[in-house]
Symmetry: C2
Subunit: 307 residues, 2 copies
Amino acid sequence: MLGSHVPELRALELLVVVARTGSLSSAAAELGITQQAASSRMRTMEALVGAPLLSRTRRGSALTETGELLVQWSSRVLDAAEQLDAGLTALRQDRRGHLAVAASLTIAEYLLPGWLVALRSQQERLGQPVTEFTLTATNSERVAQMVASGEAALGFVEGPEAPEGLSHRLVGVDELVVVVGPHHPWAQRSSRRVSAATLAATPRVVREAGSGTRTVLERALRDHPPTPPVLELTSTAAVRAAVAAGAGPAALGAHAVRDDVATGRLVRISVSGLDLSRRLHAVWTGGAHPPAGPARDLVAVAVGRGR
Amino acid sequence: MLGSHVPELRALELLVVVARTGSLSSAAAELGITQQAASSRMRTMEALVGAPLLSRTRRGSALTETGELLVQWSSRVLDAAEQLDAGLTALRQDRRGHLAVAASLTIAEYLLPGWLVALRSQQERLGQPVTEFTLTATNSERVAQMVASGEAALGFVEGPEAPEGLSHRLVGVDELVVVVGPHHPWAQRSSRRVSAATLAATPRVVREAGSGTRTVLERALRDHPPTPPVLELTSTAAVRAAVAAGAGPAALGAHAVRDDVATGRLVRISVSGLDLSRRLHAVWTGGAHPPAGPARDLVAVAVGRGR
DNA sequence: GTGTGGTCACAAGGTAGCCTTGTGCCCCAT
DNA sequence: ATGGGGCACAAGGCTACCTTGTGACCACAC
């Protein structure tokens, strides 16, 4: 939970823009507010933080050391916010006149926003018009349908193989990892390792039948007798919460649990002799290469950042 | 720059808490506001986003598909905000009764907040009291002084070697990378590679003399005749901005430019035959191991995440 | 059937924060 | 000397948010 001393996004953004432009006035102009509003907002933030962030001179404002640190930390927050913005914009677009992209949930949640931001930044850099996207997030099977039927011009799917009947290109690999809550017995082992047989015999927290995540694990464990799940949930977030609370082990995408593992909310367990990697493919119809233009550019961005 | 449809941090936090608790009421209680305020804040956010985020039932609220996506994107924003919070809290602490940590700028900006969050999360998990920190961010030389004089109980420094006279432990490696703006001629080469001699002969954007970043590069290029810098700036942020604007190449910490490289604001250039890695060390006085308690725990966290 | 607890929505009222307009001052460059 | 850029202070208005109070609905227990 967030403390009460954290400024809101707009305040952080103001600070970063001031750092870039060198003055409150120009930052205010860039953000479309008056200089006085910017000045006031900045003073509010300084009171919140409890330290001066700018050293104001007659010819602009420079950052203090504290301001310098806060700018760096803010940049990371704002980068994430920019990805959120890109994703949201793609969700919201009117369906006409835009590139329609369909993506599996994992890709839409963890990778696509970054690709959209990178592509936009690249288009701006090269002076190209910025593409607007329509995003549909659904399961891999439905993504393939949408691309085949023309509902989407480009799709991103996950799974052991690319779907048949569509052109495709490998854009990355998402490894599935097994996680447990920090209090789980497996997390107390120094090795943090179990055998595939042990995992297969343990009731797990799983996504609903048909989800790509679940399919990959069941296929990898197909030589072992199946065990009924302890809990079946319809969203990745719910699975993460249940596992963190100690419900049992689960297999989730490495991207999906990266932050939780880093902060200790989840603990990663190695499983001996189990291949849980799944491939991420871009798919489209019509030719060996994606249609020229934004679709091809987006695939190129994804390939460049997928590794 | 952020669009006008991005909710503020408090609204994103509400959504994530609702996703975890399953109801608006309990989320409101956890955040210390009334149920009505939470309901209203949520409706405001739904209007902003332009789509329903919750499906409200008589026994709680579940996420819609859009809500599910937004929760994932928000989590990343909030994780970054939590690191900002941890860093800010460490900066703000009263100087008595807390663990005093001094860190070089690079470490304080890019790594330490994550360590603080991880340590706090670990302490909460194990039921230990949560340590409060005092953070001083300065250059490596001064960090070593502070630890030697007892001003700080623990320090983190960067440089080719650990300072003499202090106990130390390697906690990670930060590679220095050479970057140019996206329009720079080097960025147009398909190889994106130059020789060390070319780099040495090119006027660069540099930090002020004495900074760890500058020292590492000059030492690596010591066999080549020195070239006066095109621009000398006192902060990493200023160097990044100058390089992005096309002022010339610069060498910066890989952590510092990771986001910029990912979004295309900066382009990374390989330099043949140049070792630009620098080691990150924890330093303390008194014994072979850091003093037991939070200092030792923090070093352990840093070692665990440094690789 | 009825009470109880839990959920969410609607309405009214107050407060506080934020933004704009207007103004003054200072310094530097021309 | 003068204009322009930059920041702060003050006043006023509006908006957004939060709280209190209320109602409706549903599940479950008795």
